[in-house]
Assembly symmetry: C4
Homo-oligomer: 327 residues x 4
Amino acid sequence: MISDRKLEHLILCTSCDVEYRKSTGFEEIEMVHRAIPEINREKIDIGLDFLGKELSSPIMISAITGGHPAALKINRELARAAEELGIALGLGSQRAGVEHPEVEETYAIARKEAPSAMLVGNIGSSHIEYAERAVEMIDADALAVHLNPLQESIQPGGDVDSTGALESISSIVKSMDVPVMVKETGAGISSEDAIKLEACGVAAIDVAGAGGTSWAAVETYRADDRYLGELFWDWGIPTAASTVEVAESVNVPVIASGGIRSGLDAAKAIALGATMAGIALPVLEAAGQGYRAVIRVIERFNEALKTAMYLAGAETLDDLRNSQVII
Amino acid sequence: MISDRKLEHLILCTSCDVEYRKSTGFEEIEMVHRAIPEINREKIDIGLDFLGKELSSPIMISAITGGHPAALKINRELARAAEELGIALGLGSQRAGVEHPEVEETYAIARKEAPSAMLVGNIGSSHIEYAERAVEMIDADALAVHLNPLQESIQPGGDVDSTGALESISSIVKSMDVPVMVKETGAGISSEDAIKLEACGVAAIDVAGAGGTSWAAVETYRADDRYLGELFWDWGIPTAASTVEVAESVNVPVIASGGIRSGLDAAKAIALGATMAGIALPVLEAAGQGYRAVIRVIERFNEALKTAMYLAGAETLDDLRNSQVII
Amino acid sequence: MISDRKLEHLILCTSCDVEYRKSTGFEEIEMVHRAIPEINREKIDIGLDFLGKELSSPIMISAITGGHPAALKINRELARAAEELGIALGLGSQRAGVEHPEVEETYAIARKEAPSAMLVGNIGSSHIEYAERAVEMIDADALAVHLNPLQESIQPGGDVDSTGALESISSIVKSMDVPVMVKETGAGISSEDAIKLEACGVAAIDVAGAGGTSWAAVETYRADDRYLGELFWDWGIPTAASTVEVAESVNVPVIASGGIRSGLDAAKAIALGATMAGIALPVLEAAGQGYRAVIRVIERFNEALKTAMYLAGAETLDDLRNSQVII
Amino acid sequence: MISDRKLEHLILCTSCDVEYRKSTGFEEIEMVHRAIPEINREKIDIGLDFLGKELSSPIMISAITGGHPAALKINRELARAAEELGIALGLGSQRAGVEHPEVEETYAIARKEAPSAMLVGNIGSSHIEYAERAVEMIDADALAVHLNPLQESIQPGGDVDSTGALESISSIVKSMDVPVMVKETGAGISSEDAIKLEACGVAAIDVAGAGGTSWAAVETYRADDRYLGELFWDWGIPTAASTVEVAESVNVPVIASGGIRSGLDAAKAIALGATMAGIALPVLEAAGQGYRAVIRVIERFNEALKTAMYLAGAETLDDLRNSQVII
Ligand SMILES: Cc1cc2nc3c(=O)[nH]c(=O)nc-3n(C[C@H](O)[C@H](O)[C@H](O)COP(=O)(O)O)c2cc1C
Ligand SMILES: Cc1cc2nc3c(=O)[nH]c(=O)nc-3n(C[C@H](O)[C@H](O)[C@H](O)COP(=O)(O)O)c2cc1C
Ligand SMILES: Cc1cc2nc3c(=O)[nH]c(=O)nc-3n(C[C@H](O)[C@H](O)[C@H](O)COP(=O)(O)O)c2cc1C
Ligand SMILES: Cc1cc2nc3c(=O)[nH]c(=O)nc-3n(C[C@H](O)[C@H](O)[C@H](O)COP(=O)(O)O)c2cc1C
């Protein structure tokens, strides 16, 4: 059953080493220290308008869960944090919610706890027919269509028919009332795919690159035969590389995610061209401890992001995006 | 006696560390993840026509053994696996079989067990006069002339006169009814040698590069004085480099081998220009356990190859060969 | 209180690991050995004229302390050493001395002990109004305006408003009777900032780059929450890179400092374009043992510098600056 | 006394770690494997004419010792080996022999034991007035003028006046009847110095680069204060780099030495442009065991050199020098 798998994922991601062994590449990127920033750190503004919503920070919570009783609490705490902070929150894949109305509440709770926050619905590229229901379920401000061919390849019996995916995306973009973005789930997006996605009319692209949570890793723990998962554990485009590639290839806003582990990583991602930076694993454990813990995590990201901006002499996110980095 | 040496080789290769300490270079090569493969993994076809034979997979079993009673069982099991899977199988050097008719059966068993599989005969470049007998012995579909100057250099009393080798190859190519390919045995082929071989009219080139079984290593264990073997343990052109060099220099099909340890390595080799990928050491131990074990090894290679193809958006081996790699 | 913080800094810098984990980059730079130096090492002269003062060596003691009773002894010993050797000595930030006349003596002692040595006053870029008093306090030969945005960012309640800093520097340069230089405190100066500083009319630039004492590190030990300090521990431009960048961008003399740990590092810095090389941490412990120990440290630096010069065939500092280095 | 120092050097070089911590660079250089060498290893000839003498191998024994009773035995055994093998042998600095006739025999023994071998005399660039006596003492076939500014810099009271060295070399070249070469002692020769030496008319240049015996290291053990020796332990131009640089800058024959530890290193050095390869440390211990041990060492070098030549398809040293290497 889907919802049991969801629970397994939550347990594995909080208990086992599920991260890529190779790195995002951010540690090889250096921002340039400005000894005379010539700005006032108190005036640094990290608020932005993203797909029509005002956000207090470019740090967003990436899609994590839903569909299992255990997900209810997580989504509730994440939503409370998002509401209090004014940041964006991605829900986990809503397929379970559409197919099993009895678990709808595990998603809908988010909107109840976060009446004004930006909520992003989530549906797989092969279940695009659920898109409308997904958006309604949480009164979503935007919808993310996720791509996860790596996980589907490793997971026994995964859905490994990707034909027609671009067409589905293209049509859903046209039919939906809310902006539709596309996100990977940890293996990254190449410039070639980004260009095709932009041509489909997507509103934003979340690269979700390699270096953070590895879905080959997660599925390795679930498999009877760990061979394939071990072999593909590190498959994917590192987040820093994917961010640069995609940002240089398309004009739609880019979300950098996958292994973003501090506000300093986020600052580097934005300096490389991203508009937003998403995190999943870093808030998962905190969510179990309650929304206050989630808020503390996000505030640390914001704090470090502002510190990096101050030291790079960037007063606004645009300044940061135009600042120099050394690769 | 040759056949005792053959047994020693089998024992050493299954019990000792006989691999290069330096790498094939494949781990530095990354394929490009395609988040939207736009293909159906079930439709991926890894079958191909190679030198006039239909094969179910580009993974072939490289030349291993023959000439000693212990080789009989190995060749029987390898042949059963090749027959059942529809893949190509290289026999070990047939010199012993020609010179000692009493061990002929250790080779001939392969054709008995694999009436329809592609069998590749094997003879050293300095015993080319045995070529015809070698082909007859197993009703070979092709003949591989092997080059092993490294082993001969380290092995006391080895044959280290290579003069006239190209001429022999040139003449045997013309006189044989089956296609004649040339293979190294683990030290790789340079583009310069590949060009000369193509000019000789060879039908294919198996680079058998450095990074897998090291014949300097094997002979180190057999030597009284281990000095020279230790010193040249790592001599040779890494397989990934040799594959690129040769594929870019000649038009004949290239077999990548030497340290191919997974279907992912094979996929990278094909993306670098190879047509086939050969493995010796990885099937040797399995052969001792019976042909079912050999089949399991090959199936894992096929499985991983298809997974890599799916994630790279390659439906055919040609697509894979034209796909992008990052070096 | 400032003076307690000063004491804490002294204690932390002598007891804890406060250095960058990343390197200055000097170990990747090689000078070119000259087998036939064609000079006489006894004739090597490392004396120079710096901002109008005759110095016996380009090694200077960087700004360290003042403002706390414990600083009195340190400045006394450093000053005695500077006087005996004929080298330049930078005093620590004099803000405390200006704001609290009762600790003035902890600075003024330096001039008493070093009537003829080159003394450099020190004031933060946001307390430039104290400049005149600072110079008077020690009858300074020059004034260093220090920049420390990294420390101020990590230190709770630090001064993180850098607006107007360039203007202040520009005006103080004009109003002062002594030469005004600008120094970082361990995070380095970019070419962009160096160019702006030169335009302000500064007499010299001390890059004080990353690789030696890390002020993020020092403040990590002082913080309740070590998170931010840990994260920015390694923020900054490595000294070797900063030295090259600044020396190539401006015409004013450059002081290389931050992680200079031997006369060989100093020689490399000068070969990269610096005029002087400053050290703080290496003399701090010695100062506690008395001026003889400080002299021994400096003499080792001089000795190694001369050895490097001899082996590079450089008889003068200008020869050294024009000598070849391999990066 | 000189001769005690000589003994100390012998003891330190056989008992302590006196080698550079950085490498010669040879392990980063790869020769190209030729799968079809097209030559007969038995016909490989490593004999050559060097400065008018016929040698059986390009491997020579570099200058080691003389001047102390302990040196007598070493030179006797080295000479016997050189005579039997037909290779060149360099004597240690003959200054002691000139200044103290009672130790002359420790050098002269070499000629007695090796009536026909090529013997190379040795004198420091600052004792060039001893040149004629040095040659006579051993009826030398050539004279090496050694340069050792690194050792002299580290050794307390060393001779660190190099002025006039080039002039001395120039004049001695003209006045001597035997060919005069110049050698470093382990810190390498830059192309700039090589060009100057060629202009002086030297007959050959021995780069004696960094990566083998470090004279800063040796002197570290002898010093009361190990500071300077430790700091300069790794000073110098790595042998592989020095060999390439010098071979490309001048037309006189180049001897590669300093850290040559196998015939494979020697092969690489020759492929990089050297004519000869010298070894000191590797024969020192063997010399203590007698000339048979020395012969065994040299034969291993010859054997490995020939193996590398065979596998690179080089029948002559000229072929080897023209063969391809990958850096
Ligand atoms: C437990 C867990 C569940 C996830 N479920 C989804 C999902 O349902 N839909 C989706 O688009 N991404 C999902 N993701 C992927 C994340 O959104 C994110 O792209 C990925 O984890 C990389 O970010 P990270 O390294 O910060 O974890 C999930 C991640 C985790 C850790
Ligand atoms: C035990 C053993 C015996 C071999 N004998 C032969 C042989 O007779 N002829 C030949 O062409 N190659 C022979 N090879 C070399 C292989 O065909 C192959 O080129 C080499 O082992 C590199 O592949 P690997 O790293 O997958 O083992 C042998 C390899 C092994 C391990
Ligand atoms: C204990 C201590 C106190 C310092 N105080 C000052 C200061 O007051 N003003 C200043 O400009 N730099 C100050 N510095 C920074 C040094 O002048 C120098 O730029 C920095 O420590 C890098 O050099 P190092 O790696 O040799 O220590 C201080 C350094 C230390 C170790
Ligand atoms: C014990 C010892 C004594 C040496 N004495 C001399 C010498 O007197 N004259 C000289 O030119 N080189 C001398 N050398 C340097 C060697 O000739 C050689 O250049 C250097 O040791 C590097 O070679 P290696 O790494 O093979 O030892 C000596 C080397 C050793 C180990």
